[in-house]
Subunit: 483 residues, 2 copies
Amino acid sequence: MSVNEVKENGKPEEESIIKKLLEIKSREDYLTFLESKEWKEHLLRLLQEEKEQEIKEILDELYDSDIAFFIEQIDKEDAIKLLQYLEPERQGAVLLELDTHVRNELIKELSPEKIKIIVDELESDLQADILNALTEDKKSRVLSLLNPEDRFDVTELLNYPEGTAGSIMSKEIVAVPEDATVNQAINVLRKVSKETDDIYNVFVIDEFGRYKGHITLRKLILSKPTTKVKRIMETELLPIPVDMDVEEVANFFTRYDLITAPVVDEKGILVGRITADDIMEVIQEESTEDILRLGGVSEEETIETPLWKAAWTRTYWLIINLATAFLAASVVKLFEDNIQKVVTLASFLPIVAGMGGNAATQTMSFIIRNIALGEIKEKGEKRFLIRSLLLGLLTGISLSFISMLIIYLLTSNIWLTIIMGIAMFGNLVIAAITGAIVPILLDKLNIDPAIASSIFVTTFTDMGGFFLVLSFASLFMNYLIGV
Amino acid sequence: MSVNEVKENGKPEEESIIKKLLEIKSREDYLTFLESKEWKEHLLRLLQEEKEQEIKEILDELYDSDIAFFIEQIDKEDAIKLLQYLEPERQGAVLLELDTHVRNELIKELSPEKIKIIVDELESDLQADILNALTEDKKSRVLSLLNPEDRFDVTELLNYPEGTAGSIMSKEIVAVPEDATVNQAINVLRKVSKETDDIYNVFVIDEFGRYKGHITLRKLILSKPTTKVKRIMETELLPIPVDMDVEEVANFFTRYDLITAPVVDEKGILVGRITADDIMEVIQEESTEDILRLGGVSEEETIETPLWKAAWTRTYWLIINLATAFLAASVVKLFEDNIQKVVTLASFLPIVAGMGGNAATQTMSFIIRNIALGEIKEKGEKRFLIRSLLLGLLTGISLSFISMLIIYLLTSNIWLTIIMGIAMFGNLVIAAITGAIVPILLDKLNIDPAIASSIFVTTFTDMGGFFLVLSFASLFMNYLIGV
């Protein structure tokens, strides 16, 4: 049998794909495999030919998130087919790894019954994530299909406002009363459902269900079975209030190096737990949000966002900027006569305005990041404001000096040099002040500083730059003519 | 005894501080307490009066990181005093929570012997963090004081290049051979030192020390003592290579929702482990880096950075920008004659250049974030480049249309309107192309795209904007005169 015959037959190639997968020993091999186009093309062909056995063998060897990445690259019809070759438990896991847009598209196509089967296999916080992607109508139909206990837990989670500890916690906790023994705690641990395989702590509660302390599994293993849990529990950790902002929860986790933490309601009753994997996601999402918003992109834009939608939100942002640009240009318009007399001013205007913009961006990025990290709340905004002003003065002096040097060398006109020096210094101070005050003020007004600061700040620095150069120039117009 | 007498006596006030601390039940109470100035003033006074007993009582009730925040706000002398009231174990923990600048200042003041006592109580990765803050000379003196095993582990960790998995892993692992029983695994767990209290997994290795699989503590607790570990271990997880980039490690953790992962050398030998708390820190640091660098601020700048140092790095960045601003201004200079003839151009120039800058920032932020998240590597840069171009065309068309409308209304000059429309469209396309290509190219050259992209990109959009407006204007100069 020649190589060609093998190829035409088709089968041995697929076998070689699964053979390759089974031979993988190291992460490098796996990543090299993932990067090759071959397997994707083959898997797609198998899907179109509906070769169940071969497909299942390959899917068995891939991680959920890698299947998700594959799904993001194929048609909706093929994706639905592929999902059906997975066990319900994996269907849920794969759906959760998908980009939100793709996930919502796929879930739309599934019947409430199918969604119910998928949701049954997930932990409560992930159930809530899937249900949140549904229309209200479909959501209540799926909820009605769930068993009462799950329905109760998920409904509770769905009721916590987005962005609070409650919205990211899960209900799967192992809790024992204070007078339980280690042995009893282990028995409770044995009983929790197999979905809850990521248990790191046993929580201890009082008769009212209030959080009292926790015991690490290591301590549980190493203690005598008859020891009372209250004698070995740790009580140092303060539980997280269910309405705490997720960004604060994240700062709390990183500050105290937590892996898992109990969540309590306003009465101190243990209602769930948050683990570090939820927090890693929160930190990554919040940073992505801040970076994209600072750049004027919707925080939800990914490569999977429909093009028209991305174009619209970007255009929307640019239109707002266009309005402020015309506003700044109107300052230039006011002084057109002077520009006509001293046309060199036209080339110097964008320099002062632009440097103000750059300096403002420095201050603004620093302040916005420190708001997000909780540093400003911790150390007081006064310190940040004073420091920003001082930095504005220092950078203002140096930049003004350097610009004066360059401009004197270029024009040999002392008056133009002085005007530009004063304007540069003034605009860098404006930049420092607005770059610090605007985000702090927006944050106080509960507006995300990352989304709106730059609009205000660059309007100030553009107008400031134009106005400073042109108004000083008109004061000294007699000395400038002929430059 | 009147209230005044109590106040003058002094003592009851301190007692009330410790009483307040002991009465704290909820996180809200604790945070309210932390935010009050009272306790800080009292603790400082106690320090100056060297009231050991009272100080220790208060410190006992505070978290390490809150003590660290307090230290950041007091003098070096007081800070050193305070450190000495803490147990060596807590001294290390508090030092690690400090801002790098403050930490380095304090460590400078401590003798190698004192540092040794602190370091003795830490896990290997934290030992390495402290040692990394020392001068080479002091580092080797502290190393020589450590016991041989610790010295070996830390020296190994210190040798891994910064930014690799090796540099953030810890050596404290519990590993058993494949044919060990559950009972034997538990005995090994019992023997590991008390510093290592954050164990979530037992690793299984072969006779050469190569990683084979892991067992969660929950599984260990629930299995029969005589079961062989190899029968219950999980083998799905691929270990992390010791030279993997930390950013990739972080993406790996979030992608597969890991809490802990084994680290292996190039031969597959288990050399350490990484836990989610290290990763949360990495994700937060990398995001801070990206946001600050994108804003033109040193990634190391915090509120604790000495003012002159922050001013210098900011000035340095502004000087580079100043050079590119003069470069762009030289384009305007070339066309001065035309501006003198049609002075309206002077006010429209910054609009086209500025809008190009805004659009470029959108594309650039999106691309840079997707590089950091590993999305571009995963899905191919071609898709991102094509999409950026399409978005550039779409936003270019809409913005160009809107600008034309506004300019026609303002000037009633059809030629000026057309020129501005073409220039706006052209510059938004330039923005989209450079905003996408520059960061991808820099990343390929192993230059952090966040640090250098904006310089190149805004130079392109500034020069592009000026050139497009002015060169089209000179083509149609005859129709523009008199606007």
